[in-house]
């Protein structure tokens, strides 16, 4: 477990230095752990487990948009679990549950039980429709059609810089909408 968390810390440091592949690997590594913990939280609170994927996506967005609050000299896991715990509690509260989520729920989640993603249509996808057209187009191109920033820029006759701005703004407003609902 220690090794796993050290690896996360290393990947995030690389990502902050500009290594996009390391960033991708980090998300791949933390997602199953977050998913297992979110499911456990939901099932404990008597909530339908198939809705927990929304929380996983919500946590991933927050990790991305708030990573400047992580101290690069500290291990990543406590920071990550604090964000996850916060999002999970918030989600359960919105559903009318007052629950205490133990931070150990995350730390103790073993990597050898990676549940598959459920196939319910996600809240993120629903909120995507309400974004301004430019942000939605860019997000759709990159997320759904897996186009690169370069190809997306070409497709919409935008500069790469403008695509990057629309991408980041789109992600930020997605998060704001998820919080506001």
């Amino acid at each position: 477990m220690r090794e796993r968390e050290d690896e996360w810390t290393g990947l995030m440091r690389l990502a902050m230095e500009g290594d996009g592949a390391a960033y991708h690997r980090l998300f791949k590594a933390i997602t199953p752990v977050l998913r297992a913990a979110a499911r456990r939280g939901f099932s404990r609170a008597g909530q339908p487990v198939d809705q927990s994927e929304d929380i996983v996506q919500d946590i991933l967005l927050a990790v991305h948009l708030k990573r400047h609050t992580w101290d690069a000299n500290a291990p990543l896991a406590p920071w990550l679990f604090a964000i996850a715990r916060n999002k999970l509690i918030d989600a359960l509260r919105r559903r009318g549950r007052r629950v205490f989520v133990d931070i150990d729920d995350f730390a103790e989640t073993l990597a050898d039980q990676p549940p598959a993603e459920t196939a319910s249509p996600s809240e993120v996808a629903a909120q995507l429709q309400t974004l301004p057209a430019r942000q939605r187009d860019v997000l759709q191109s990159i997320a759904v059609e897996s186009a690169s920033i370069k190809d997306t820029a070409k497709k919409f006759s935008m500069s790469e810089g403008a695509v990057r701005v629309a991408l980041h703004r789109g992600l930020a407003s997605l998060t704001a909408k998820l919080r506001g609902q």
Binding site: G20, L65, T69, W79, N86, A143, L167
Partner: protein, 214 residues
């Protein structure tokens, strides 16, 4: 359209080049933008007391600034710390003991000196109402700025972070007000400044619980 988690991950990784400013930078910028508003309010409506040059030689006049600035500094430090999701108050609350300790030292110091006025008169003073109105009003622009700055962070406990924003903005506002106020007794400061600060802190906590969730 659908967006499954793998697609979301690809999208987040594509945005890796984006760099956000640290919370301290955004908070500083917001406070620097709001400070002129509070200063303008202060200068046009109140102004520095006319005998300020003599007052500066009174240690109890100077103590007011030590207390309010210590409060502002503690509020800034704690709220920046709490802008990190994994942060706890432990190890940081004692910073608030500095302004409180300065006040206690001031009160005991004043007790040991011969006084022209009885204790209750010094405590009640002559500006309590002004203090209770001016400090909260002057702190409002600063409080709004602090909340905007802290929104850039990820506080796990938004109400507590909001309360700290209240402390820091009332500390700064009280620093302005202290140069107008002619009541220099630490007893007056301990009573009325504290009450005014409590009001702002409560507003900050209430606002924080709404706007500081991330």
């Amino acid at each position: 359209m659908r967006m499954d988690t793998d697609q979301l991950i690809n999208t987040l990784a594509a945005d890796n080049a984006h760099r956000s400013r640290p919370v301290s930078f955004v908070l500083t910028l917001a406070l620097l933008a709001a400070a002129p508003i509070s200063i303008l309010m202060f200068v046009t409506e109140m102004g520095v007391r006319p005998d300020v040059m003599t007052a500066m030689h009174n240690p109890f006049f100077d103590l007011k600034f030590a207390v309010t600035l210590a409060l502002a500094a503690a509020g800034i430090t704690i709220s920046l710390h709490l802008a990190r999701p994994e942060a706890s108050l432990r190890g940081f609350v004692w910073l608030l003991a500095i302004p409180a300790g300065l006040l206690v030292a001031g009160i005991s110091g004043e007790m040991m000196m011969p006084q022209r006025l009885p204790m209750m008169t010094r405590l009640v003073g002559s500006n309590s109402k002004v203090c209770l109105t001016a400090v909260p009003l002057l702190s409002l622009p600063l409080l709004a700025a602090s909340l905007i700055g802290l929104r850039h962070g990820a506080p796990a406990r938004p109400a507590v972070a909001g309360a700290m924003a209240g402390l820091l903005s009332s500390g700064l506002a009280a620093t302005l007000y202290a140069s107008n106020c002619t009541d220099d007794s630490p007893l007056f400061v301990a009573t009325w400044y504290t009450l005014a600060t409590a009001v702002v802190t409560a507003i900050g906590a209430l606002a924080g619980s709404r706007v500081l969730r991330f």
